[in-house]
Symmetry: C3
Subunit: 277 residues, 3 copies
């Protein structure tokens, strides 16, 4: 993986428009993170405009954090149009496993829209991969964690899934694992524990992945590795900058801030991405 | 009331999942406050998944800040399931009195879901208690204020309401009043005037009450007193930390931050809760 | 234009209730900005309550950032009621041009609701004025920019539009242009480049314009000039206060903070409003 700084710079130079059909809880944070990166977010979940908005955008995020009938329809319409135009699509199956609506919608999107990128936490991925999991709502369950002990086994399962579904599959947590349909596999060790204490850490990462994919469509695995490194580094920078008395709200602001205020060198120097195969 | 620190610690230890059917204006703040407290929020307002999400959660918030037909249906479904499972339910009748839709939905939820906790401002409560009020939209009207002069009379009315409806009734303002169905009554004098200048102060308090109720279901009155003290203390800490030039946006961040950064002793030392009977 | 400080003070004294039918992405920021100004926001987009909420409010914002069938219906109902009550209505046609749904809804609102204020970016305005533009989603396209070179021509077109549609028309960007139906035209040179890097800068400005219009209904052109100056000044203050490492999330907080923490003199001293005719 050459450089997360290069991908970060490409986003700043290309200003990709990112169509986000996403939940209302974290839409503001996703929009500000994309703007901080130099991308141009457009949050549009009306089915009537789904195809037009996708057409004028460079990539698409389908985030099922707060679903309803209308937004589900918009996701399928936008997804079909993105496929037709060969725009990168990121699926974020928030809370898959927490309800049949979420699990089934996520699986249907996976099988019918064929997103080229799946980004989620480990519990959500296990649900979609039918490998068995328990649901902790929208958070990963502790017993599902990727650890130094099970990383080999998890990597194998993840790679199999990526090959089978033809999509770059990124599972984030203390260690992020990213698998490509061509068999590549990487582990990212950037990040900070406070990220799981902020709502929308995952949603922001998905939106940012879509921006990176738009900037580097010829190698989505590389784009995703860079995106995960940068997000983790932003978390590290946020943590380091935290003043006494500050907690998760300030951490969130500092994490978004990092995307706009760091330079290419900051990203390069801190990148902890290991190719596992 | 023994200790708001104990309740705060219980939330951190139990990590209760809190199902929030809430408005899109302040959902992000509610989620971050719950995460800062160690709880696990799940914002889910689709009727199709209401029962499942309630089932995997420990408590439920019904906040009518931005209603529509779908979310109203989800509230009744989730409320019925929570009753069946004996999960604590917090009703926050945002803007009751501002429209028939809000007033009627709030009354219907009160009478059909039988939430064990009602949390609102004084104008909203007066609307539901039919004691007459004027609407200032979602804010309390000045003439409705609880003051040292009318606190005796207000307490009597509130206690009567709590007994009649069998729900712990908490009315927040400069002085918070909390009444239990068993006749207990408390006044909380924590808080800061800037809290009313932040959107979602009340919504966050309701979400936090649901987390406390999940952690202390055997004594909801105690849980609610602790929740109100802690919220007020967070406001005091936020105010004290405010730098020159900072206003309500920074105050909001600092208030959420306080929940994650303060220790048990901070909550104990500042608690200003008086049992009135 | 006498003073943006006077308008700012009038809002603080009158506490106008502002009915916002707005997008879920930036609703929280709009609410906090209005509260910081001393206004009282009510976000209510259910069609069933649209007329009642408009009736108890002093002004109305119609922001089409995230449209759906229900909120469109609510906009027309609320708009008709506001017209009947002579309440100022601000139309913010977010993303007009990005989809037929947005363009057509904005034009229909313009022609049927007859808002007394249109506030948007230059690309959105060109779309509505049929003068030709390209869409960059919800952001202004670079080639549409108001510059010292084209300001004369743009002013003429804008004035013609304001006269024809009988509404104060404000187009914001590096230079804001504001035209009145009576032929007055002003250029505002307050603001900071970081404002375009924050989601909801425009939405917040529209909400704030509605508060100013409620406080100064007898001269909406004056109210709008003051509103634009103050917003730009808040951006300047936010930029000046930015610490090393801070980016757009902190900038957003500081911009909202400014409305609550600055005094009348701050607004007066920095106002850069030029009457062009």
């Amino acid at each position: 993986v050459k450089s997360c700084g290069n991908v970060w710079r490409a986003v700043r130079e290309l200003h990709p428009i990112v169509h986000c059909i996403t939940n209302y809880v974290t839409a503001n944070d996703c929009a500000n993170l994309l703007l901080g990166c130099g991308a141009s977010p457009i949050m549009a979940d009306a089915v009537e405009e789904a195809e037009e908005i996708t057409t004028l955008s460079a990539s698409l995020v389908l985030n099922i954090g707060t679903l309803n009938g209308d937004t589900i329809a918009a996701m399928f319409r936008a997804g079909a149009k993105a496929a037709e135009l060969h725009h990168p699509v990121v699926l974020d199956p928030v809370g898959a496993g927490a309800s049949a609506l979420r699990t089934e919608t996520a699986l249907k999107l996976l099988h019918e829209v064929h997103p080229c990128i799946l980004r989620c936490n480990i519990s959500e991925w296990k649900m979609l991969a039918h490998t068995g999991s328990v649901s902790r709502g929208v958070d990963a369950a502790d017993i599902d964690r990727v650890t130094p002990e099970n990383i080999g086994e998890m990597g194998t399962l993840l790679r199999r899934f990526a090959v089978e579904h033809g999509c770059v599959t990124a599972v984030s947590g203390e260690i992020d694992l990213i698998a490509a349909p061509d068999g590549r596999l990487a582990a990212i060790r950037n990040g900070d524990a406070m990220m799981s204490g902020v709502t929308g850490s995952g949603c922001m990462l998905s939106a940012w992945c879509a921006a990176c994919a738009a900037a580097e469509p010829q190698d989505l695995f590389h784009a995703l590795c860079a995106a995960h490194c940068a997000m983790g580094i932003a978390g590290e920078i946020a943590r380091r900058g935290l003043l006494p008395g500050e907690g998760n709200a300030s951490f969130r602001n500092r994490m978004i801030d990092a995307f706009g205020s760091c330079g290419k060198e900051d990203w390069e120097a801190r990148c902890r991405c290991e190719l596992l195969s």
